[in-house]
Symmetry: C3
Subunit: 214 residues, 3 copies
């Protein structure tokens, strides 16, 4: 019963497990991009770190929770770096994962980061608009930093409803919490909506319109 699990403090094993798993997956993805760009071991680990933790670090600097949580709890750094090391050793590990599974894992990470980012911003007194934007930043900021460092236009601004799904999840979570509904249930609901939208969009090749295509 995930909704109950997420209502307990963040030390709860299930939530923590999800959070570390998402950090690990994002670290793996960042490292794979770095390997494709021919960076060395340090570059691969740096990109794993930035991709997995960058979004949360930007959020925490903006809402004023410094040093950012990513630095205060060493398990997050460890999860990101383990992802990086595995990517480095098992050369291009993501190519061995079926794409439906990879997209699902990534979408799960995006969902978790988006709803937890929005929820945390509200806890720190942010207004609803800020909370929604912080949810999207938590989910997509790491990927944006990764692509800026690798000198490409950020993929999260281009691929099928990626940032849009994060905004949806963060918005549902924010509206629910502000209306006094249980935080845990709104996070689950927001996360599920984000996950479903992103996975279906990837599967059906849905995308937002481009200008001039209306």
């Amino acid at each position: 019963m995930p909704s109950a699990a997420i209502s307990v403090p963040s030390s709860d094993r299930l939530v923590l497990g999800f959070d570390l798993a998402a950090t690990f997956v994002f670290g793996l993805e960042g490292a794979s991009s770095a390997i494709a760009a021919n960076l060395d071991l340090l570059g691969v680990l740096a990109l794993a770190f930035v991709t997995a933790l960058g979004g949360g670090i930007i959020r925490d600097v903006i809402i004023g929770d410094v040093p950012p949580a990513a630095f205060r709890y060493e398990r997050y750094v460890v999860a990101a770096l383990v992802g990086g090391v595995i990517a480095f050793i098992v050369l291009d590990p993501l190519s061995h994962v079926p794409s439906w599974l990879l997209i699902s894992l990534d979408a799960a990470g995006l969902s978790l980061f988006a709803v937890s980012g929005a929820s945390k911003a509200l806890t720190f007194g942010a207004n609803p608009l800020t909370a929604v934007i912080m949810g999207a930043v938590t989910g997509t900021g790491g990927g944006i930093l990764r692509d800026v460092l690798l000198n490409t236009v950020p993929a999260v601004l281009r691929i099928n409803l990626y940032a849009t799904a994060a905004l949806l999840g963060a918005t549902v979570t924010t509206i629910g919490i502000r209306r006094g509904l249980p935080r845990s249930r709104m996070m689950v609901l927001g996360g599920v909506l984000c996950f479903v939208l992103r996975v279906v969009a990837a599967w059906q090749h849905w995308g937002l319109p481009r200008a001039g295509a209306l």
Copy 2:
């Protein structure tokens, strides 16, 4: 009598109107760049947001006013996004605007951001050097982030006296305020100087020297 208008609190309608207009124009410009880079609707809105509000966000994080003002007052986000939506619907709207008008609007936004950024930094206890740099960062930071995201060398570091004009306006404002002259008048003076320098530089193709060209 603008000098009087700017001396009243920031809730004053005229100042607020200018500020929102500048945010709108910068949003329009950021969105147009995103459209030219073939981003989808979300990417266009994200670039409108970053271009219009990024400079002020960097300033506020550096001077310690978090969450940044751009997030606390929803009207700024709305102004930036309205600019983005209009750019998206009216495909390439800036191509329909005479270039002298576009350069003037942009220079007005730059001027307003530069002097208000310097003034705010002083209010937060920054020393004069920091205030001048924060003025330039407020005026040019959004454009720099936009170009980094779109994977080009920032135009504001290259085009005719753009950042230079912002530094001039911020410097005049800072020196005047620190000498005890009326804040409002120094902001108007700094803003006018920034505006005039930038517009004349664009018109006359003035630029700073490059190394080796001395």
Copy 3:
């Protein structure tokens, strides 16, 4: 006897001299990159500023020391900009410096920034992991920002043991200070190890492995 010198407050002339010299060298390097990219005088000075001071600014924003020290003490901005002006006037000055001297100066700056960054983070209550990362960020962050602005993949993520040397120096410093050993001696030890590793790596073309090359 440098170890004694570094144990006194940061106002000490020798430490201050080293710190300003490192800022100057990094400013010179940033400006040279900007000149190579054909930026104008303002762009050259902006890149000198960002390269010399960007790492420390990121560190201070993350550990919560705002406004960052780079803005509070005007001598640092002056040192960076003097480097920029000299690079601008003496076109491509670094080409006249023997490469062993240039690498040594740069390695000295990297070492100083890495150990002082780690030490400062500890002073602000950061945990050891954060201190090590902040040391590396202080040493390499400016160069990363420079390369992002100049639209290239950051060199510090690629060249021979550059960030690795910063991590080594920061780690030794952090472990020593946390074990109660004299701060000054640990900073000297960490700095010397960082310096030696970087210089030898540049000389011997040592590098970390790349994925798939194991």
